[in-house]
């Protein structure tokens, strides 16, 4: 049997299981340190998003939320990448097109996990990860007619958008639409293996174009809801792009890494240095794109110097803990891939590509960490066993689901009309 279909061997499963178990142990150690180590932070009652004293569960929930959003990004970018290749009628990628597609299999799990973590982080205690969920903010006067000391007119002004029912409708709607798009695309793509011809290909082109438009809008709404609304007073018109760019770099780095690892294990024999070169270009170019968006957001806020906008960067640049992370973020997400992947040879050699992809994948996790943590945990944020552990748990689950989905069909689409072009791809 040639290696046309991915075989999810027991030894691979075991490795992933061990990865997950190590993650659970590390997370448990992290929780034990937090719960019994005595952190000694007093309540910071005056701060915008923390009316209550810090509890270790807050850090766990915020961390789970980061991982949710991050791995959701990897999954949906897989589907988006797939759609872009079809909408552009790209030939080069047709031999590897099922790897990005398989990332989408994480979407249903991401949906369930997001709902669970959203509940835990906001309703399991008096703490709200999303500050706007605090009911006491919205009424000018209390029931007895006296002035409400918690009243926040800025947040009250956003009530038409940021209220729980509408928020949940958006969340469920976006997730369901993404999941349906994924399953329909996958079904058509698999049907092509049996039916041949170009009908399924044409169908996918149309569907991809519709998905791209929907994704452009829905990913922006998702980024406002799931991340930007943490800093409820603050808003940035760049935020949708910013989150998309971060997701996209991480997603393409993930795709490249999976392709490289599959190739190392003898799969995908027709994938050559030329395909890797193109994937490397994606990582390189979109790292620059991410930096462009990151800097545009920063420069506008820096220049305008409006207090309600610059608070976002003050939280991150006037902190003993977040400031080094802030600069680390730009170093490993821009300077590192920019300088290492600049030459042609670096993009064509698996070793460089693998290192850069791994670093960039972590780098963009860090980017989401910086979006979420300062707003939710303020000075109580940290990076330790808990964070590393939860990343490993999510990574193991994600890999298990994706690799399992790869076994469901041939790795290379059998009747893709552009397959010959991909096999002779040469740059």
């Amino acid at each position: 049997m040639s290696k046309e279909v991915f075989v999810f061997t027991p030894s691979t499963k075991k490795k992933i299981l061990i990865l997950g178990l190590v993650g659970i142990v590390l997370a448990a150690i992290g929780i034990a340190i937090l719960a019994f180590g005595g952190h000694g932070h007093a309540a910071d009652a005056g701060h915008e998003a923390s009316g209550h004293s810090f509890h270790w569960t807050h850090r766990l929930f915020a961390d789970l939320w980061i991982n949710n959003v991050y791995f959701l990004g990897l999954a949906i970018i897989g589907v988006f990448f797939f759609a872009v290749q079809y909408a552009a009628q790209a030939g080069w990628s047709s031999a590897l097109i099922r790897i990005p597609l398989s990332f989408g299999s994480w979407l249903p799990f991401a949906f369930v996990l997001t709902l669970i973590v959203f509940y835990l982080a906001n309703f399991s205690s008096h703490w709200h990860m999303f500050h706007w969920l605090d009911h006491s903010l919205y009424n000018e006067t209390l029931a007895d007619g006296s002035v409400n000391p918690n009243y926040d007119y800025i947040i009250a002004g956003k009530e038409a958008y940021l209220n729980l029912p509408f928020y949940l409708i958006r969340m469920v709607g976006i997730f369901l639409a993404w999941i349906i798009f994924y399953f329909v695309m996958r079904k058509i793509n698999f049907a092509e293996d049996i039916a041949g011809g170009v009908n399924n290909y044409r169908k996918l082109i149309r569907l991809s174009a519709i998905f791209i438009i929907f994704f452009a809008l829905s990913s922006a709404v998702g980024s406002w809801d799931w991340i930007m609304s943490i800093d409820t007073h603050w808003f940035s018109t760049m935020f949708g792009w910013y989150v998309f760019a971060s997701w996209f770099v991480a997603g393409v780095a993930g795709i490249t890494l999976v392709v490289l690892l599959l190739k190392e294990n003898g799969y995908l024999p027709m994938i050559t240095d030329n395909h890797l070169h193109d994937l490397g270009k994606y990582v390189f170019a979109f790292s620059i794109f991410w930096t462009y968006i990151w800097f545009s957001q920063y420069l506008l806020i820096y220049y305008a110097n409006i207090p309600e906008e610059s608070i976002y960067f003050i939280e991150r640049l006037k902190s003993d803990f977040y400031t080094p992370v802030f600069f680390l973020n730009i170093i490993i997400n821009f300077f590192f891939p920019f300088l290492v992947l600049m030459t042609r040879d670096a993009k064509r050699h698996g070793v460089f590509l693998k290192i850069v992809c791994a670093v960039v994948l972590f780098g963009h996790w860090l980017d989401f960490y910086l979006m979420v943590t300062p707003g939710t945990l303020q000075e109580n944020g940290g990076f330790g066993f808990l964070e590393i552990g939860t990343i490993l748990v999510y990574l193991a689950a994600f890999l298990y689901v994706v690799l399992n989905s790869l076994t469901k069909s041939a790795l290379v689409p059998k009747n893709h009309p552009m397959l010959q072009e991909s096999m002779h791809h040469h740059i």
Binding site: F295, L299, Y302, Y303, N305, T343, R344, H426
Partner: protein, 175 residues
């Protein structure tokens, strides 16, 4: 025999034939001077054994020059020579300099590349162009072989060109 004076030209119609002809000629230890073609032939660079262009290195160096130039210029102007308060910012503050730095990096890199390309390919004003065959601007491909670089083995070369499918084999001499 003098170099760059006397050439033997093989004229072809099919670009694929040109690629295989070049490979065969080179495997017979004959040096190909150049292939002239109305359009880019895929794979001809590899067949001719051309090394990859070093132009990207020049681009990187000129880009760095542009970055340094832009930063030096702005820090000197805004910080030392004529400090001005703009928007309540520090005299010399990095963020507003980044867009200008980016633009100058691209500009100097592009101009430098054009310059290096002109010098490296010997493109200059009033350069006398030597046209091997007028049909290379229309529908024919020409493999030019410098007799001076191949010890004047003209009969052997002509035979080889015929074998590889050349429609015509001509001689061309420049004074």
């Amino acid at each position: 025999m003098e170099r760059n004076k006397n050439f033997i030209l093989g004229v072809y119609s099919d670009p694929d034939e040109v690629v295989s002809a070049v490979m065969k000629i080179r495997s017979n230890k004959i040096k190909v001077h150049e292939v002239y073609s109305p359009f880019a032939i895929h794979g001809i660079d590899d067949a001719l054994g051309y090394k990859r262009s070093r132009l990207p290195i020049a681009a990187f160096l000129f880009g760095m020059l542009g970055t340094l130039l832009a930063l030096t210029m702005q820090f000197w102007m805004m910080g030392i020579d004529w400090p001005m308060i703009i928007g309540g910012k520090n005299f010399a503050s990095l963020p507003p300099f980044i867009p200008v730095t980016f633009e100058l990096t691209v500009l100097i890199s592009a101009l430098g590349m054009v310059g290096v390309f002109m010098v490296a390919s010997d493109l200059k004003p009033y350069k006398k162009v030597r046209l091997m065959d007028t049909r290379i601007t229309d529908d024919k491909h020409v493999i030019a072989i410098d007799l001076g670089a191949n010890n004047g083995a003209s009969d052997e070369i002509k035979k080889l060109l015929k074998e590889t499918g050349a429609e015509e084999v001509n001689e061309k001499n420049f004074e």
